[in-house]
């Protein structure tokens, strides 16, 4: 009986009085904003890939070519979920990311189990999202995304001191949007060297991985934008974030910001900026 009662002491999470509330990296601090200069529409391409997937390097080549073609109009993230093709080979770095895994499962990539797989702007299709194999080319989907008139203009800046990063996001509604919109912030890293299975089934020990998702800074599906969706609304949000993991090379990291529809997860627009201290 005593054991049961004392179990109460260990069966709950005790939160210290000084920590009842925590700085909401996840939801941001919101202010009135000013119009955003850059009204360009960008395409957000998320690629689900794996180190044991021998077709994935081909997709990397296709996307690298697209990046030089579209320049900063294309925003890329490369995601390693928790499926079997993503297990690191040998003792090379593990690029799997729990946040990316949740996305993979929610967007139906994990369930389909085919890699590489890509989505552009999380375009809804039927009850899910339009997914395609990027090996066959990505320009059709990117062109379609870029052809749309931008409904939200977005820019961001980041200040980093060691591992703590202050991120400012500027949002201007160019047309009136119904429903709720969210802003999602991602941390990605370039230039990670990890062994990759190649199309000829060999292992390439010096393979360079770019745009690797390290963390989703906000809540997974974004922080609510503190605005009513009316055209002309300008908002600014400040997020503060500490990149805790010692293994990440922050000088090779970027922040990506997405503005999405809260219900359908469709991405309206995106932007990215570097957090390199060497800039």
């Amino acid at each position: 009986m005593l054991a049961i009662v004392s179990a109460a002491a260990i069966g709950c999470d005790k939160i210290d009085e000084n920590n009842y509330i925590v700085y909401s990296g996840a939801s941001g601090e919101w202010f009135d904003g000013t119009p955003v200069e850059d009204h360009s529409q960008r395409a957000f391409l998320e690629k689900y890939t794996g180190v044991r997937c021998n077709n994935c390097p081909t997709a990397d080549q296709v996307i690298a070519a697209a990046s030089s073609q579209y320049g900063d109009k294309l925003v890329v993230v490369s995601i390693h979920d928790s499926n079997t093709l993503q297990r690191p080979i040998g003792d090379s770095p593990d690029m799997r990311c729990p946040d990316g895994d949740t996305w993979s499962k929610a967007l139906g990539v994990f369930g389909a189990g085919e890699y590489p797989m890509a989505l552009v702007n999380r375009k809804p299709s039927g009850n899910g999202w339009e997914r395609f194999n990027p090996v066959g080319g990505v320009s059709t989907q990117i062109d379609e995304a870029l052809a749309a008139a931008p409904s939200v203009a977005l820019s961001l800046s980041a200040d980093r001191v060691d591992a703590s990063i202050d991120i400012n996001v500027y949002i201007e509604y160019l047309s009136t949007l119904s429903g709720k919109q969210t802003v999602t912030l991602l941390l990605i890293e370039d230039g990670i060297i990890a062994t990759q299975k190649m199309p000829n089934h060999s292992d390439s020990a010096g393979y360079q991985h770019n745009h690797i998702l390290r963390d989703v800074i906000t809540d997974l599906w974004g922080a609510d934008i503190d605005a009513n969706g009316q055209a002309g609304t300008c908002r600014k949000a400040r997020f503060s974030y500490t990149a805790a993991n010692q293994e990440w090379n922050l000088d090779r990291c970027h922040i990506i910001a997405l503005v999405s529809d809260k219900e359908s997860k469709k991405v309206y627009n995106s932007a990215q900026c570097s957090i390199s201290a060497e800039k």
Binding site: V5, A8, C12, I15, Y20, I21, Y23, S24
Partner: protein, 558 residues
């Protein structure tokens, strides 16, 4: 129209089925060496608009709630399922019930020392202050857990229980609840106490819920709540009896649990309940005291409403059954309250001075419930408040009632009741003046002969409340009520009643009901107006909107 026809067909089918079933009254059906038993309930309602009482048209015309429990038992094994259909849930039921399907299913194996149930189950630890999964079909409330429940008795007098499950939420299940309970009857485990007149039982329980983190913004811009993922509640309880004396107590504690119930404060919760009683033949007295402080315990922190409660902190006030005494029922304020309730019952013996030829029963009850004496420390994301243990806050509810029951002759019995009720509207969540109501009731039963029984009921309520169209509480004002009920054999009854707000109030609520009972089957049809009000059963209350029209109800067991 099509759906109405379909519902009528179903109703007819149910009726026919019931007749078939009742023709084999009380005979269970033998299948594979086991037995199939069950029960069916079918309620329907046709409501039409009435601007005075505030009832509205129902787009579906006919609203129906139907359910059937089927239970299969074979020795130690049993299995059951329940089909529920809310094809247009009846007025007062949450519209999220709309739909039909198998709402409850289980398999169970029970021996004298071991029991396991998989599927939906109901369970209660002690008085339920830490855990009570239960169902009240009339309140539209079902907190069944779906999971596994195990009971084990390692020795005589020792009962251990363990469970894990998710809670029913309309047609969904939510949350994750884990719990264990132990109870020891000392008269069984200590040989020397086996025959002792003093009976002593001790119990303890532990319940924990798990929830994932979510973003709940603090009142301070840029901050969010640091939420506990695991919240635990535990309690100790005792039950001591010697002859006519009885003493029961339970103390419960709950860890930090910011939720929509307490407006996301971090204060620990606790509750204490005491009951002392003495009784002998023809005399009984019972006193209960209770203090509840921040004990609302839900399996999902952010969902409001009466569903998903893990625990149960009942009101200790007397459950009045006469219409005007229960017009303003009290509901436990799980955020904090203090209460005292006393009951006294005495039988004057036959041929005594006050007993007369047939004896006289008196029953006195009094209760007083107040808020806690609290000091506010902050809002959301803070400790919330502090409270002094013995301090009391504003009065929430008080009542005193005296009931005298006396057989006037071998055929006529009269029950006369006087009650005084003090009610603070804040317990229903809105501000307003405290109401003071006097209620007088005469209830007379005249058993004409073995086959014919008449019952009359007259009630009066004088209140200092006045009808205010802004608040629109249709219970306000002074009321009178009359009821005549005629029973022909034990099978048929007809009752006619009217409640009328004759001063400072609104409404005239007449009702005609006809009922037929045969064995375990009961059919009742009513026509009239139902006052908007609050129905409370146990510690839980539900708002019932006004209705005007036809209602019918069929229940049967087989």
């Amino acid at each position: 129209m099509k759906s109405i026809r379909a519902k009528i067909i179903v109703f007819a089918a149910v009726t026919v089925a019931m007749q078939c079933v009742t023709s084999t009254v009380a005979k269970a059906q033998g299948i594979l060496g086991g037995h199939v038993t069950g029960n069916v309930q079918f309620d329907g309602q046709l409501s039409k608009r009435d601007t005075i009482i505030g009832s509205s048209d129902v787009p579906e015309k006919l609203l129906t709630n139907a359910r059937a429990d089927i239970l299969y038992t074979n020795g130690n094994f049993s299995a059951g399922l329940r089909y529920e259909a809310y094809l247009g849930p009846m007025l007062g039921f949450n519209s999220q019930y709309t739909g039909q399907g198998i709402a409850n299913y289980f398999v169970s194996y029970k021996t004298q020392t071991f029991a396991v149930t998989a599927g939906h189950f109901y369970e209660q630890f002690g008085s339920g202050m830490t855990m009570r999964a239960y169902e009240d079909r009339y309140l539209g409330l079902d907190n069944a857990l779906r999971g596994i429940n195990v009971t084990y008795r390692p020795w005589k007098g020792v009962t251990l229980k363990g469970l894990v499950g998710q809670q029913r939420y309309f047609w969904d299940t939510k949350g994750l609840v884990r719990g264990m309970d132990a109870e020891v009857s000392f008269n069984d485990i200590i040989t020397a106490w086996n025959e002792s007149k003093t009976r002593f039982t001790l119990g303890g329980s532990f319940v924990s819920k798990y929830e994932e983190d979510e973003t709940i913004l603090a009142d301070i811009s840029g901050f969010k709540l640091n939420l506990p993922k695991n919240v635990a509640a535990s309690s100790v309880r005792m039950d001591l009896n010697r002859g006519g004396f009885g003493l029961q107590a339970e103390y419960a504690f709950k860890s930090q649990d910011p939720s929509i119930v307490n407006d996301y404060i971090y204060k620990n919760g606790n509750a204490l309940w005491l009951s002392a009683s003495y009784s002998q033949k023809g005399l009984s007295a019972n006193i209960q005291a209770k203090r509840v402080d921040n004990m609302g315990f839900k399996s999902v922190r952010s969902i409001s409403g009466e569903m998903l409660y893990i625990n149960y902190t009942p009101s200790i006030t007397k459950q009045h059954t006469y219409a005007f005494l229960s017009m303003y029922p009290y509901a436990t304020q799980s955020t904090g309250e203090m209460g005292l309730q006393a009951d006294f019952m005495y039988k004057f013996k036959k041929e005594s001075l006050l007993g007369g030829k047939y004896g006289t029963d008196i029953h006195i009850n009094a209760s007083l419930i107040t808020g806690l004496d609290t000091t506010v420390l902050g809002g959301k994301g803070t400790e919330g408040y502090s409270s002094s243990f013995f301090g009391t806050g504003e009065t929430y509810y008080g009542d005193i009632s005296l009931e005298i029951a006396k057989k006037l002759s071998s055929k006529v019995k009269l029950t006369a009741t006087y009650g005084y009720v003090v009610f603070n509207p804040v317990v229903e969540g809105h501000a307003g003046d405290i109401h003071h109501n006097h209620v007088a009731i005469a209830d007379l039963t005249w058993k004409i002969n073995r086959k014919n029984v008449l019952r009359f009921e007259a009630e009066w309520m004088g209140s200092d409340s006045h009808y205010d169209p802004i608040v629109d509480d249709k219970r306000a004002g002074d009321w009178i009520m009359g009821l005549v009920e005629y029973n022909f054999t034990s099978a048929w009854f007809v009752s006619l009643s009217d409640q009328y707000a004759y001063k400072d109030g609104v409404g005239n609520y007449y009702n005609l009901s006809v009922g037929y009972t045969k064995g375990a089957t009961r059919l009742q049809v009513g026509y009239g107006k139902q006052r908007e009000g609050i129905i409370c059963i146990g510690g839980v209350c539900r708002n019932v909107p006004a209705s005007n029209g036809l209602t019918f109800s069929l229940t049967t067991s087989f």
